[in-house]
Assembly symmetry: C2
Amino acid sequence: MVREGMLLVLSAPSGCGKTTILKRVMAGLPGLVFSVSHTTRPPRPGEQDGRDYHFVDRAAFVAIRDRQPSGFLEWAEVHGNLYGTSREEVSRLRAQGLDVVLDIDVQGAARVRRDWDPVTVFIAPPSLAELERRLRGRGTEAEETIALRLANARREMAAADDYQYLVVNDDLDVAVDALRAIIVAERCRRRRMPSGETVELRL
Amino acid sequence: MVREGMLLVLSAPSGCGKTTILKRVMAGLPGLVFSVSHTTRPPRPGEQDGRDYHFVDRAAFVAIRDRQPSGFLEWAEVHGNLYGTSREEVSRLRAQGLDVVLDIDVQGAARVRRDWDPVTVFIAPPSLAELERRLRGRGTEAEETIALRLANARREMAAADDYQYLVVNDDLDVAVDALRAIIVAERCRRRRMPSGETVELRL
């Protein structure tokens, strides 16, 4: 009997190193996957339908979204494009015993938390001053982009209290180890194990 | 401000490798300590008062035990000797930010769970058949000792459902990694962090 995979919600302000941390954790830990999101934005060069995104038009997206219950675990509109996480795809992956990562913002996380039982992790910078230093250090961002990102970070970090785990990315190796540990530990949660396993252990 | 350390309750039937796992985890993870227990049993050669145990006579033990509230987090009588975990010592260590390991049986764990908020981990063998094979493999135990240990294991494993985490010691490296991960993950728990840290993060 395959144990159902967990749903892992990961949020972080821009510039906290979430993508780097996640890439390294996923490379070292089998059984952890992204679900492929649906989007109405057009594919960029090199992007492949079904691998990077499920590219759909607005009517198709809305039809999935407005099913009862909604075909999306969560969805959002960003710069006029719709993005959504398919309920069906997440369920299919979890039924195979895979742990599914949702890389979503604090609003999306709030929606998933309401209806599901996800493991929620917030990745934070050591401080906003350090985040500002990192964003400026890239040397590629316009001043107003930096100001916008810092304002967003301040708003998002106010929601960190609603997450079960907080990983402060001060040292990258430590942060990678912490996120990996959270997933390994959650796999050992007694309540995740089907009762069949207890019976087997008792005999 | 020092963050208060956690209380980690660890139980396992005899022969599950608990001591080996714990030794390896503690060697690799700073900030994790045992509290030194009180006991009425006489010191064995090489044992040192205050390091291996606090050796006390029965009257002293009972006086500590019967304070209101009790001076012991939990206590037990084994083969006519009393053993107890000092509430004062555990509190002192936790106030220093150290995570305190209590290596206790399922009854002791039930008592600690009632009054405290410990992290609880049960270490189990892959199966009772495998445990029996391991106990026999030692080649040092009398047949009736093995039978007694198996009966105890069966009884203790029925209590595994009451623990938050279950680590199955099938492969030693995997079990060590899992216990270590549980501790690292619990250190990232949002609810363990003083609200002062959120404020710092928000500014």
